[in-house]
């Protein structure tokens, strides 16, 4: 009997010992290390979630977002190139419970906060395929009151949470990055990430882009447009795609404008800061070339007769008095007042609106930007004159 008792004791202690060892070696000890890393690398001031962000996090949890989107950029070049800086321990310290995830059907969201505009996020949550035609993401209409631009509190909270993803790291800035001691990150690669794909906000004011030749608007090019652009800009480029209504400013009316190939390349590469237009620099250059051709083909420029001189003079007078502060003296969108607003004012030297489009904008303004309606301040003759006048800047040297 003693032998049996001994065996029982040894087996129990052994078995429990194995389990205890696993918890210590893979749970408790790594936890202590991660605590140490957090203390050494975290910024001075904690940035915990706000009440709204926490509620949004609950929505994110309950809808299973973490089962298609990770929040964990691995220390691998292939992750860093796509999703930005690898996740540090301190970035996750307010996550009860963690939302790392182990499956990616959609992209990682660790740095999502700075990537997309608010209206894009809401339109995408309400009906993902309106903005991303090939997406398989579920729609979440129960977070809205019937339309993408009428979010319920839950959708607002979820948006707040999405915008918080990666915010602390962003705010930590260069000073924060300097605290990342690679000696602490044993065996991890030291990767640096460039600008994030799709990130327009991070590319604010950026105009640099590689030379992208104009391709041909063949069948394949039209398919690329249909799969990537038509959701917002509409099948014919009239800015009336299924997502258009939910976005402020509305997507550009490509059919109502002439654009220089370089302007299109710049916009595709950098996106439009302050609007829902993402950067498309992750598309192959051949696809971007094809899209330039498609956008140029969508234009339906009406051959406008040159206006009489007196109209031109009136247009210039109105423009100089009312528009040049933002749009610049020579229409290149670089007026002194334009520097401080979220979205760059229209640059008429690289994009020429048709008269009808111009008049529409002058009468209605552009929702979501400081461009207001001018029909109460200007007479019909003045509106018409300035609509013609802005067309004259196109392809003019700045």
């Amino acid at each position: 009997m003693t032998g049996q008792r001994m065996a029982f004791l040894v087996a129990s202690v052994g078995g429990i010992g194995f389990f205890a060892m696993s918890v210590v070696v893979l749970g408790v000890w790594p936890g202590r290390e991660l605590d140490g890393e957090t203390r050494r690398m975290a910024p001075e001031h904690a940035l915990p979630f706000t009440a709204s962000e926490l509620r949004g996090r609950d929505v994110y949890s309950r809808e299973g977002c973490a089962y298609c989107h990770t929040q964990q950029v691995r220390w691998l070049e292939r992750d860093v190139k796509r999703f930005g800086k690898p996740t540090l321990a301190w970035e996750t310290r307010f996550d009860f419970p963690h939302l790392w995830g182990t499956r990616r059907i959609g992209p990682d969201l660790q740095r999502e906060g700075v990537v997309r505009s608010d209206d894009w996020q809401l339109a995408h949550l309400f009906a993902p395929r309106t903005v991303v035609p090939d997406s398989v993401m579920p729609d979440f209409p129960w977070l809205f009151e019937g339309a993408a631009d009428r979010p319920s509190q839950e959708a607002k909270d979820l948006l707040a949470y999405l915008k918080a993803l990666g915010k602390a790291r962003e705010l930590a800035g260069a000073e924060g990055e300097a605290k990342v001691n690679m000696a602490d990150m044993e065996g991890m690669g030291d990767f640096h990430s460039g600008p994030l794909n799709a990130s327009a906000a991070a590319a604010r004011r950026a105009t640099a882009h590689p030379a992208i030749p104009e391709g041909t608007a063949d069948k394949r090019a039209l398919e690329i447009y249909a799969h990537n652009c038509a959701g917002c800009h509409g099948a014919k480029g009239e800015g009336d795609g299924p997502a258009a209504k939910a976005l402020a400013p509305h997507p550009a009316n490509l059919a109502g404008h002439e654009y220089t190939p370089d302007r299109i390349a710049q916009t595709l590469w950098n996106g439009v800061a302050g609007a829902a237009m993402p950067a498309w620099r992750d598309l192959p250059v051949a696809d971007l070339s094809a899209l330039i051709a498609v956008v140029r083909k969508l234009e339906t420029p009406s051959a406008e007769p040159a206006p009489p001189q007196q109209i031109v003079d009136l247009g210039k007078q109105v423009y100089d008095a009312n528009c040049s502060q933002c749009h610049g003296e020579n229409g290149s969108g670089d007026g002194p007042a334009g520097k401080e607003i979220s979205m760059l004012p229209a640059n008429f030297t690289t994009g020429r609106p048709g008269v009808a489009e111009s008049l529409r904008v002058l009468r209605e303004g552009i929702e979501g930007t400081p461009m207001g309606p001018w029909n109460r301040r200007l007479s019909e003759a003045e509106l018409s004159a300035v609509a013609y006048y802005v067309r004259s800047f196109y392809r003019q040297a700045r």
């Binding site: 049996q4 065996a7 087996a11 429990i16 389990f19 060892m21 696993s22 918890v23 070696v25 893979l26 749970g27 000890w29 790594p30 936890g31 991660l34 605590d35 890393e37 949890s61 309950r62 809808e63 299973g64 977002c65 089962y67 298609c68 964990q72 691995r74 691998l76 292939r78 992750d79 796509r82 690898p86 996740t87 540090l88 321990a89 970035e91 996750t92 310290r93 307010f94 996550d95 009860f96 419970p97 963690h98 939302l99 790392w100 182990t102 499956r103 990616r104 059907i105 991303v132 997406s135 398989v136 579920p138 729609d139 979440f140 209409p141 044993e186 065996g187 991890m188 992750d282 192959p284």
Partner: protein, 453 residues
């Protein structure tokens, strides 16, 4: 096994848990099928929050874990434990209470709460914390129900199945709170370290030991020959309980969790493959002479489960290695792996135990021909599902490693997702056929062939 101890079995509980298991298997797989369909036709749910992908996904795996495997294991335990110990289980009333808790306080409310948005976003722990409390109670009840007989009988007489049952139940009681409660209090990366442990412990300390206890039980019961080597059995058992818990961190390779822990877990994952090779060699040698497709369906199910166990474990050892993990982690490859483990190894082992126990229930009908049909449907379904998802994973990994936009991987996966959805059809049919096999045919008094097979 000892002769004729079947009269000690509480057949009522075998019957109830078996039926609940197969019905819940169908429902849980139905959640999976709906989720798979939504990847192919995303708008099929019509914007209903109760049918949205995330919630279905939670209910799918929790349903398989608790509804199907939990009930099937309990059904098998009610047969195996009295036969091994020569004693009745602790209490019939406790059994009825456990059945009620398991099904009416865990699985069904868990499903309903998840669909209504009350859950926790932790893998293999998606039922809300309130349900987890009842799981803990149920596990303790199961320990009280099944283990005293083994302890009374004495350790030197314990067969390897008994070791696995004791280990499985006791360590589930330890590891369950670690995965289900701890991450609510330990944040971020630190919590993830524990979460990773539980993800692997759910498989390694709950499902695998109980599935192996069934395989080790059914083989000698069916072949009427002792297991090939008791030494290899026990070596496999101790290595398994040593190595399995050390695997957890391999779910977070290249994460911020200390590299030493990651590498240790990867090493343990490699060694685990060696251990499984030992276990499977012993099991296959014990089945020698029975053929690849034995006439005894319980033996056929556990035999197939054994082979799938080998494949999934070797695959697991390989995919934990850093180079392969860097590429295929986060892809459908892992989903294929999970299906091979749960739908292949665990489901075939559980079905073997269930068939074996069911055939001894004096008042239960059993239709061998129909059950054989279910076997083929299940085998075809899991083979198609696994092959398809593995291929999808390789395609996704290739695109992720290139400069192509993310959406390319979604577009490329769509045909594979369609085929995966199609693979669900033979599976759902197979589960229904399984149920039909248990509701038609003769009762044991009339049957002779399958009991003495």
């Amino acid at each position: 096994m000892e002769e004729r101890r079947e009269h000690l079995v509480e057949s009522e509980l075998v019957y109830a848990h078996s039926l609940a298991a197969v019905v819940m298997l169908f429902v849980a797989a139905g959640f999976g099928f709906l989720a798979a369909t939504e990847l192919v036709v995303p708008d099929v749910a019509g914007g209903s929050q109760f049918m949205s992908w995330g919630r279905l996904r939670y209910d799918h795996t929790q349903g398989i874990l608790f509804g199907w495997l939990g009930n099937a294991f309990l059904a098998s335990l009610y047969h195996m434990v009295p036969v091994m110990t020569g004693r009745r289980v602790t209490s019939l009333s406790l059994g009825r209470l456990l059945f009620g808790i398991w099904n009416f306080l865990i699985v069904i409310p868990g499903w309903i709460l998840v669909l209504n948005g009350i859950s926790q976003p932790l893998e293999w722990a998606e039922f809300p914390v309130v349900v987890d409390v009842f799981v803990m109670i149920a596990v303790v009840f199961a320990i009280i129900q099944f283990l005293p007989g083994f302890f009374r009988q004495g350790m030197e007489n314990m067969y390897v199945s008994a070791w696995y049952i004791v280990g499985g139940l006791v360590f589930t009681a330890f590891s369950y709170p670690m995965g289900n409660f701890l991450p609510q209090y330990v944040p971020g990366a630190r919590g993830a370290a524990f979460s990773g442990l539980w993800i692997h412990d759910a498989v390694g300390l709950f499902i695998t030991p109980l599935a192996l206890s069934i395989i080790y039980f059914v083989i000698p019961a069916s072949t009427r020959r002792p297991i090939y080597s008791h030494f290899l059995s026990m070596l496999g058992f101790w290595l398994l309980f040593f190595l399995y818990p050390l695997n957890g961190t391999h779910h977070y390779v290249f994460s911020v969790i200390p590299m030493t822990a990651q590498k240790g877990a990867i090493l343990a994952s490699g060694l685990l493959g060696v251990d499984v090779l030992i276990v499977v060699t012993n099991l296959v040698l014990s089945m020698r002479g029975s053929g690849w497709f034995p006439r005894d369906l319980a033996l056929r199910f556990v035999g197939t489960g054994t082979i799938l166990y080998l494949i999934v474990s070797i695959q697991g050892s390989l995919q934990a290695q850093m180079d392969l993990n860097a590429a295929i982690h986060f892809s459908d490859w892992v989903v294929g792996h999970a299906h091979l483990a749960m739908l292949g190894f665990a489901t075939f082992a559980a079905a073997g135990g269930l068939v074996h126990a069911w055939r001894h229930v004096p008042f239960a009908r059993f239709n061998r021909g129909v059950m054989e049909m279910a076997y083929w449907f299940l085998l075809a379904g899991v083979a198609l599902m696994f092959t398809d998802l593995t291929a999808a994973g390789i395609v996704e990994a290739g695109i992720w490693g290139s400069a192509a936009p993310w959406l390319e991987s979604v577009r490329a996966a769509k045909p594979y997702w369609a085929l995966r959805m199609a693979a669900g059809i033979p599976l759902l049919m197979g589960f229904l056929i399984m149920l039909a096999a248990m509701l038609t045919g003769d009762r044991p008094a009339v049957r002779s062939e399958d009991l003495q097979a």
